[in-house]
């Protein structure tokens, strides 16, 4: 069976609702199925990968480190929409370092994050087979 292109569209902030956490749980499982996996962060979804999250005082689990582990699951296509960052007063520097080791380049550590414009995000969406949103 042909490999399908799966995109996980993240448009919601973490902690206020469970969608970000439970979406990530799907992504981790999806990694085992040898399909093409892409994550998109737009609108409030960009907050999911912001640095220094600390929900300890809320008694909630800090799951943000899991994004950093995605490279180990061979998930390394994370696209972040530039306009969404700007509208929220954020910059690229607010985002966590999320990396993978490039097998084809002597295991050099490279960033999994690509900042794209809204138009580029639209083009990425148009190139998928299955869109998951939560």
């Amino acid at each position: 069976m042909a490999v399908k292109k799966f995109m996980y569209v993240n448009r919601k902030a973490p902690y206020g609702t469970v969608y970000a956490l439970e979406s990530l749980e799907v992504v981790l499982i999806a990694a085992a199925f040898e399909q093409e996996v892409t994550l998109a962060f737009l609108d409030d979804g960009v907050y999911q990968i912001v640095r220094n999250q600390n929900p300890k005082l809320l008694g909630m689990k800090n799951f943000s480190s899991t994004y950093k582990a995605l490279g180990d699951y061979d998930i390394k296509q994370l696209y972040v929409e530039r306009e969404s960052l700007i509208e929220r007063g954020l910059t690229e520097d607010d985002l966590m370092d999320i990396t993978y080791e490039d097998e084809g380049d002597d295991w050099a550590e490279k960033s999994s994050l690509t900042i794209v414009s809204r138009a580029e995000m639209a083009a990425l969406m148009a190139a998928q087979d299955v869109m998951f949103s939560f």
């Binding site: 737009l42 809204r118 869109m131 939560f134």
Partner: protein, 102 residues
Amino acid sequence: MSMLHIVNKSPFERNALASCLSHASKGDAVLLIEDAVLGAVAGSQVAHLLLSALATQAIYVLSEDLAARGMEPNRLVKGLQVVDYSGFVDLTVQHDKNQSWL
């Protein structure tokens, strides 16, 4: 190769429709269901969003959800097309992929 975008949120309360329309590609289709059908009524402050989108996308509205909310099809922004659940199914067949803007 085109996408059916499904929007179910009131555009007066949330940004889902606006975000959808700014990410839809030429030739895609947009289907308004549930509370999103409220945005289809002519003369509202979101009507301009739909009018400019109609230049590049077909926009559909689910009739069962319109009826529930007391909105007659003759009140809709011109150019929108009304479909029922059976038409909703057909749209998912005609477009080889779909995306829900939750």
